[in-house]
């Protein structure tokens, strides 16, 4: 059990290292082939809203990465991010998957402005042989009001 917890921690840390390092191709490899990536505000979650700030499947997440790397003017210059994740708790599920609950602080800095978003992750992680893959991530933001408007980075 302790080994599983350590393995999940290492998996999350290395995935965030790739993300903050801008290695999006390698970061995409940490996801399972079918994926769900949702970023929702706590307020919308309380109200059971269908709409979310981000609600990506694999295609849309690839589109989001393409926007960061090629299309978004708002990513020239590129936002620098630091993802800090902690309070990680791992729960093995009957179907063999792992649910990891954690808290995050994401700092996003661009053009002299720093934005801090904070909240919790609820991750479903698949075991594929020795490797772990992220099947789904729900990121719930404490921030209901986006004070800097656009969110052109991965939370």
């Amino acid at each position: 059990m302790i080994d599983t917890g350590k393995a999940v921690e290492q998996f999350l840390y290395s995935a965030f290292r790739l993300l903050d390092g801008g290695e999006f191709g390698k970061w995409m490899e940490t996801w399972a082939s079918e994926l769900v990536y949702v970023v929702q505000t706590a307020g919308n979650l309380e109200r059971g809203s269908t709409a979310a700030l981000i609600n990506d499947n694999r295609d849309r997440l690839i589109g989001r990465i393409a926007s960061i790397e090629q299309y978004w003017h708002a990513e020239v210059p590129r936002t620098r991010t630091s993802h800090l994740v902690g309070n990680i708790e791992v729960e093995p599920m009957a179907d063999g998957t792992l649910v990891a609950r954690s808290r995050f602080i994401v700092s996003a800095t661009r053009l002299g402005t720093q934005v801090m978003l904070a909240g919790r992750y609820e991750d479903v992680i698949l075991r594929q042989g020795q490797a772990l893959r992220l099947r789904s991530r729900l990121a719930v933001l404490d921030n209901d009001l986006l004070v800097a408007g656009r969110v052109t980075y991965i939370v």
Binding site: V39, T41, G43, N44, R47, S49, T50, A51, A52, L53, I54, N55, D56, N57, D59, R60, I62, G63, A66, S67, Q70, Y71, W72, H73, A74, D144, L145, L146, V147, A148, G149, R150, V151, T152
Partner: protein, 393 residues
């Protein structure tokens, strides 16, 4: 600022086909806009789907003033100034929810959902001139509903809402049926003037330059820019359903290629209604300062929608038009670039061009006909006579 301080009327800062940079940057122009536009005109403050039952409320701003938009015990929509009549504190902190009464946190003055002052602690310690009847939460002068949109105005003289909306009504009718529901909301701020949002909502050219992923999707094709009167304006265009790689990357349905009509509408000054493909996106623009604006945006659906259609409507806000969307994020980026850039001044460049399509066009999506209509309304309202000034302060 320079213009007003030397006594120039701000209405002269707009001419047909051109706009002076100071309308975005001047704090004095902003103050005049509050007085002459925001505290006189009909403003959008919400949608009835946000208020499902008696006691439901949301807080909003009309210009700089905090308001409560709520349903009273009889189900009637009320718009009340969110300020205790005792010492002035907001009686509701910003947010949404359900209340049985509005109780001021400071000294416990308690107001009914209709604004009436219901109870005051230490009542018998006040003198004979103290009258509860006169101390209710101040109700905004006019409230009107159109297709579920809640409009309010500080002016007793505001025309009936149907007359005010005029030609724009039929575009609202196409988007907003009687069974609208809110699929989710987002609220964000940007460091730029409120009019950038107004201009952008009905700008038919920027899509292929500013929105490089969206612009490739085949969503934009032939159409028209429309001046709908009273400052209201719209874009309307025929579009193939999104095709190809970029459509797929935005999660749009690339298999359906039937022609479709899309439209975006501005109801002057603060309503944006974006009705593209499956998306029905309502925006309430709330100015904070000349260089700062808050936007409340809601993804709308219809109660008759299938779960699949509801999901498509919602995901179009996430993937395309919302603040983390392929298009929405860069709109915010350019609003801030505009605000920064408009600080640059020289007589040769002070007037910005809005003349495209004024001549030499037989009607095109990329014409600036609609935004010229917005600015005609702006100019007319800003030219209000000295006698009218300050009435609503």
């Amino acid at each position: 600022m320079e213009n007003l301080e030397t006594g120039i009327c701000p209405s002269t800062l707009v001419e047909d086909g051109r706009v002076h940079r100071s309308v975005y940057t001047s704090a004095a122009v902003f103050e005049a806009e509050l007085d002459r536009i925001w505290y006189r005109d009909w403003l959008l403050v919400g949608h009835v789907a946000e208020l499902p039952e008696p006691g439901s409320y949301v807080t909003r701003r009309m210009g700089r003033q905090p308001v409560i938009v709520c349903r009273d015990r009889d189900g009637r929509v009320r718009v009340l100034l969110n300020s205790c009549t005792h010492r002035g504190a907001t009686v509701l902190r910003p947010g949404y929810g359900r209340a049985r009464a509005f109780v001021c946190m400071y000294h416990g003055w308690t107001f009914g959902l209709d604004g009436r002052l219901a109870s005051v602690p230490m009542r018998d310690h006040y003198g004979p001139e103290f009258r509860e009847e006169a101390l209710g939460l101040k109700e905004v002068a006019r409230v009107a509903l159109y297709r579920g949109l809640i409009f309010a105005s500080f002016s007793d003289d505001a025309p009936p809402i149907e007359a005010h909306l005029g030609e724009a009504r039929r575009f609202v009718d196409m988007a907003l049926t009687d069974d609208i529901e809110v699929l989710g909301t987002m609220e964000y701020e940007y460091r730029g003037n409120w009019k950038f949002h107004m201009e952008n909502t009905i700008d038919g050219l920027h899509g292929i330059y500013l929105h490089r992923l969206f612009g490739n999707s085949g969503l934009l094709s032939s159409g028209n820019s429309l001046d709908l009167g009273n400052g209201h304006a719209g874009l309307m265009w025929r579009a193939e359903k999104a095709k190809g790689e970029s459509g797929r990357l935005m999660g749009l349905d690339t298999t359906d290629t039937s022609p479709d009509t899309s439209r975006t509408i501005v109801l002057f000054p603060n309503t944006g209604l974006v009705h593209i493909q499956d998306l029905i996106n309502l925006r309430i623009v709330m100015p904070i300062a000349a260089d700062r604006t808050r936007v409340f945006t809601a993804a709308l659906g219809r109660r008759s929608d299938t779960p699949e259609l509801r999901a498509r409507r919602a995901s179009q806000l996430s993937a395309v038009q919302g603040p983390a969307g392929a298009a929405g994020a860069d709109d915010i980026e350019v609003f801030e670039a505009l605000q920064e850039g408009c600080a640059a001044r020289a007589p040769e460049i002070d007037w910005l061009d809005f003349s495209r399509g004024e001549r030499g066009s037989s009607g095109d999506l990329t014409d600036e006909t609609g935004v010229r209509g917005c600015y005609r309304r702006w100019k007319a309202m800003m030219a209000v006579s000295q006698a009218d000034r300050g009435r609503s302060i």
